[in-house]
Symmetry: C2
Subunit: 335 residues, 2 copies
DNA sequence: CACCATGATGGGAGCGTTCCCATTGTCAAC
DNA sequence: GTTGACAATGGGAACGCTCCCATCATGGTG
């Protein structure tokens, strides 16, 4: 590939200076209609693409947005990512997807700051993860940040970032409410979610439902297996009539364990999931699950982020709700 | 965030010139041990991160590699992506993940060339997609390219790119062989894969097995649903004893349709998938499927690409094999 | 002791933009 | 006719690097 055209070539072709071409390129004012047209034509003729590196260098920042994700293989995340990509299409920002499997010794703050220095994006969407007290460096970046579906704890000053989450504690309560109504008196819980569990427990204890918490055997990356193993162990112990899984992936793993043990769902045992990933409508039986507001999450996160970047709005903390999808994996006791 | 340190600051701190710092940064020869140590210390003290834009600008290219994927939501792809990320870790290249949902009027060549001009990467891994005759612009980039799991047709000159695939035609034959042995005489095929189908048909016709091809109702993005709908329609017609699905996602959709119709797997009907995504070990019953060589694909693609970039090897076309994972969804006739 | 190869280092140009400031041209108001 | 405001445009500096070439010791060789 021979040397590409640069801004001077375009300028020469259009018979103007590089400054004028730059103005056209960036949609700045102060260019006559006729000149603009000529420049655009020249650009078109050469299929000229401005050199990003040079652009970034001289303007310090870049016309890009980073989407930082903790493990794209997670079906919940990958669905949100896809939707965010769609939402960003045609928005004139570049979306840089950064996958990061967080190890214990690296916090989200470290990763975000590193990426910031490297990429100089205009904003950042962080998908998932825990977000705790040690956020000073994050804040110091003074970068528009939207946290999506993150667990946020111990942060009182919230004016410098946005968040879009479900209210985990309330969701836990709803989930628990659903169970209480159903008459199940002993349930096995698989999964970790501080707030969701807290909400659940409160309601369940009031109604005299006993919860059996599974230990999770952290196998990293193999989410299905975690659910499977945990369920297997719980089933060996017995003493409950319903599995409550804090994610669908765990539920799918648990489903396998149940079937392996020769039990029928929901006749012998019920199971509820959480997330409403696409897959969960295709299990046998289809999973009863609380469906995350995917479209809403994607749309809002992009809208807020770009709004803040373009100074047309301020930060916000949006709380959305899940929708119960009554599959066939859950049934009230004795029905 | 106040102004970051630049190469001059480091140079001043270490008492050397910017050239020397640059040499240290890029691992070039010609720096004494003592100087190098001093520079490294200064870099460390400031947690200095070189400005990428400037680097790219002066060296025209960037220390990055693009991973171009057709829809990261596809579980097969997302698994490969995750593994490629792992493989690249610590390799001193930046991996830029680019998701592209190809529409009909945009070819892979167009997308790749656009990205190339914009990102100036050192190489590109293209995951999936069809790769046909109109490749001249791709080739003209003179960029190391590795095509992974792509369908390649009508390209005779193959010295300028690498590929890692399974031999679809042979895999089709193997799949067909498995079916012939089993005694199924009428099978329903769901999915599109030119070569795989061609291989299958040849073997099946020789053995007198009749194939019923499902029409696919292209619902875009909703792969599970495609399988479901296609299976539903086929089941209404009847006349076969086994579903052959050309991907596991389709198979999971089909499984749902089968159960909905009150049939048992594999007693009443068998089903075989393809890909061996993580999920397929957790269906009910677990899917019999041909597992793609994920690790191998990821490892080889990275090794080849970096090898070519660093001029330690030449292009290659690697053909790998799947492994039959005998789940429980398939059973020979009359057993 | 002059010479040259070699290793370590510094300095300057150039990469392709953006952004600021200066310049020119035009027109209305006085 | 002079002035000032304003729109349109050009030119130069700056962004932070890499890369090439020049310089300067150092030490072995004839």
């Amino acid at each position: 590939m021979q040397k590409d055209a640069n801004i001077f070539d375009i300028a020469r072709m259009a018979g103007v200076s590089k400054s004028t071409v730059s103005r056209v390129l960036n949609g700045h004012a102060g260019v006559s209609k006729a000149t603009r047209a000529r420049v655009l034509q020249a650009i078109d003729e050469c299929t000229y693409i401005p050199n990003n590196a040079a652009r970034n260098l001289s303007s310090i920042t870049t016309q890009s947005v980073v989407l930082l994700v903790h493990g794209i293989a997670n079906p919940f995340f990958s669905r949100v990512i896809t939707l965010i990509f769609e939402e960003m299409r045609g928005k004139n920002y570049e979306l840089i997807l950064h996958n990061c499997e967080l190890s214990d010794d690296i916090s989200i703050t470290d990763v975000a700051v590193g990426i910031y220095k490297e990429k100089r994006p205009k904003g950042m969407i962080i998908l998932g993860g825990h977000f705790e007290e040690t956020y000073a460096p994050l804040r110091a970046m003074e970068l528009p940040i939207v946290m999506v579906s993150a667990t946020i704890r111990g942060i009182t000053d919230r004016l410098w970032f946005s968040s879009i989450t479900i209210d985990d504690e309330r969701e836990g309560e709803r989930l628990a409410g659903h169970i209480c109504q159903s008459g199940h008196k002993d349930i096995a819980v698989i999964g970790q979610s501080y707030f969701r569990e807290r909400g659940m427990r409160r309601v369940l204890e009031d109604s005299g439902v006993r919860t059996h918490i599974a230990d999770l055997d952290y196998d990293r990356a193999y989410q299905f297996k975690i659910g499977y193993k945990a369920a297997k162990k719980m089933l060996a112990q017995g003493g409950f009539t319903c599995f409550v899984c804090l994610s669908d992936v765990l539920a799918i793993g648990a489903l396998r364990a149940i079937h392996e043990n020769g039990l029928r769902v929901p006749e012998d045992i019920s199971i509820v999931g959480f997330d409403g990933i696409e897959n969960s409508a295709y299990t046998n039986p289809p999973l009863t699950t609380f469906v995350q507001p995917y479209e809403e999450m994607a749309a809002q996160s992009v809208e807020i982020l770009l709004g803040i970047i373009e100074c047309t709005r301020t930060h916000a903390h949006i709380i959305l709700q899940t929708t119960l999808d009554e599959g066939a994996s859950f049934r009230p006791v004795g029905s």
